[in-house]
Symmetry: C2
Subunit: 474 residues, 2 copies
Amino acid sequence: MSTADTNNVDGSSANRANLDNFDAEALTAEAQSLLEQFCRQPSIAAQHQGIAEMAALIEDALRATGFTTQRFAAPAGVDAPDIVYGELRGSGPYTMLLYNHYDVQPPEPFELWLSPPFEPTVRDGKLFARGSSDNKGEIAARLTAIRALRAAHGTLPITIRWIIEGEEEIGSPHFEQLIAPHADLLKADGCFWEGSGFGREDNPTLGLGSKGLLYVQLDLQGMAGDAHSGNATILPSAAWRLVQALATLRAPDGRITIPGFYDTVREPTEAQLAVVASHPDDDDLLKETFGVERFNDGLAGFELRKRYSFAPTCNIAGLLSGYTGEGTKTVLPAKAMAKIDFRLVPDQEPDDILAKLKAHLAAQGYGDIAVTTFSNAEPVVTPIEDPFAQRVIELAEAYAATNGTKPEITLIGGGTLPLLGALRRQVGLPGLSAPGNPTYWANGAHAPNEHIRLRDLRNAVLLNCHQFMHLEGA
Amino acid sequence: MSTADTNNVDGSSANRANLDNFDAEALTAEAQSLLEQFCRQPSIAAQHQGIAEMAALIEDALRATGFTTQRFAAPAGVDAPDIVYGELRGSGPYTMLLYNHYDVQPPEPFELWLSPPFEPTVRDGKLFARGSSDNKGEIAARLTAIRALRAAHGTLPITIRWIIEGEEEIGSPHFEQLIAPHADLLKADGCFWEGSGFGREDNPTLGLGSKGLLYVQLDLQGMAGDAHSGNATILPSAAWRLVQALATLRAPDGRITIPGFYDTVREPTEAQLAVVASHPDDDDLLKETFGVERFNDGLAGFELRKRYSFAPTCNIAGLLSGYTGEGTKTVLPAKAMAKIDFRLVPDQEPDDILAKLKAHLAAQGYGDIAVTTFSNAEPVVTPIEDPFAQRVIELAEAYAATNGTKPEITLIGGGTLPLLGALRRQVGLPGLSAPGNPTYWANGAHAPNEHIRLRDLRNAVLLNCHQFMHLEGA
């Protein structure tokens, strides 16, 4: 898609400059420079690395863009990174809340990265770095768009409120506690969450909600310390007990066998199925992207997309016991550990699933397994009929029409935004994963070699300009 | 047990000095000094650390004791550490072969060591270091005994041949290849393997054989790279497939469910069961040592010892998939790995068990799991009626009688000496885990805080003196 293709978008306010007035190449360079600055700063919430430094960097960038900023700090005795908050008053009454996070996933395993995760590197038109896609690229694109609009117009037509937290990748454990005293500052007509981006045909994508997440760690200790494996005849094996406990959670065919797990799963509606049916088949592309020959149960097309959207999961995210180094060690391990994440769909509730998991383990004779909860978030979905959602979809359609495409709407994403439950409870405004994130389907988020395409960064900046100029028309 | 208790052993040659002539405290100090020197040198075969340095240290120590030494080197193109060989001619025709290894198990996990694994540290009469018990302590005790006998008599009554390899802890993969060209140098009247030591009442222990070992690594790859766990609905999970494949190998009650696994297991004979029945109950001590409240299946006493001696195992020595660091990472792992060691009893054959494992995995739909074999050793047992075994038992009984105890005889140890099959094939002499190893039941071999008791080091030196003086009476 050439720059010219995207620059003639019909806005609702004819007296406001359209995208032709912007130098797309210069804006892309500016966004890339900002993004590289952000990505060079590690900010790993799970490992408490670089979080304070990243918060300062983000607050400085907001201030340099004209925002009035403040920190939402944890109360005394609570160890949680500040939330960075900024407000930029616009000329009209319409107010948008933006949500982002400044933390990233851990970079391990390092050896699979083709370039160091915190040294942004451009190869083949792509910028590689941990956080480039999830979600520092989005912060850079939004900031660049706002700077461009301020440069062109002085004042934006809408007020922008922006909240940027530092614990999203560990499940936003303190988000609600930190925003509760400041809920008035978060009032708006709608919220742009993180996420979404550009689809296969460079068409904007947007999402109306996310699955819930229950992330637990299971720990087993069979004896005081590791023993020589010659004792395996008579001493308990933590590794075997963990394997056998896990095997009771899920059948080999993939069905989750915790009693009652599916009880509250809501069947998709006709309207939802129609949206899923309207999506293109990405099967071959997905197979190539992930390096698989077939999907679970041989699913394809509509059935594959339906499963992706509406099925809950019980995923083993980590598994550890005994000796895992080079060669051999004949050891009977004293301990075994599994990390499990459940993705939940409406109307599953994480507390209910946790209780069912614990009851099941106890009933199967594994009551000695310690269950530690790391993340606990319910599924949140904005109805597709909501006026704010409809307005964003209209704008995305107008933008997409310039290159002959249509926005791709995701009803429930496979990922999870645990803060959405807190936002809904504390603020209550409609939200969505906004178009305008410079990511795409093969971005490697949460995996080695995370990256964005630079052409998506350009499109993201331009689409954000378009949205911020025209949203108040709702 | 005081030194005086052990010094009046009735030897078979009255004209030879008895143990009274030795300064037990000075010999213990000498053995401790040697042992500390050996333990300060890491020699981790699995990690290729310090092996060449350790071989040089051992060869120097043999030479300093009067041995004529040589190396059994790997042929060109084979990457294997040298075997150190030494011979010390005695005055009579009787010849003993000693076997030891100069490598040690990996020290991980470091954080559980109370003192660094390669900094020998004495606490509470115990010397802590990786390899102190398995088996550098035995080398130090044997060397010190031989030095003492040379100091007292100039020449020993028997010829000692000593073979010390560097890959025992990874299953002696090149042992047979390296000794085959030198089999003539290994001829002897009997062989003292490594192992055994002192029992609960400071009584000598000895072992007549060891279980076989099949050590395999199972590797599964589900897709090209790790993915965001939101994709777990549709993408294959290597971790789940590994867990579910493992769960087909062993029932929750501990029975191994690979078809045919038990087919060739020989029932223990009456004579064997009588030896097991003669052993004391160590149940409470073992429970305290390993920090367990009960043994598998609630076993106790005779039944516990019978299980320990005669049962084969399928042990998970290591398990790894996905993210295992601090906190959370919502990842769908592309790979999963398990290390499994099978301890085999007569007449199980490792090749047969490996074939049955592979056939079972394929039959269960897990034919895509890569099976890598690291160790492959058959069970080896010397009959208790063998004259050499009987002579060693007599000497041990005479030594034990000085403190009113009896030797403890183990028919089949829980551990494995993979080189025994090679020794049997190449040399064919009767062997046993000799009394005179300064180890005891709670030595932490293969685990953090491996150690010996200094009083066992003293007893080991004295018992070795006793044996080397009187073995030729057989």
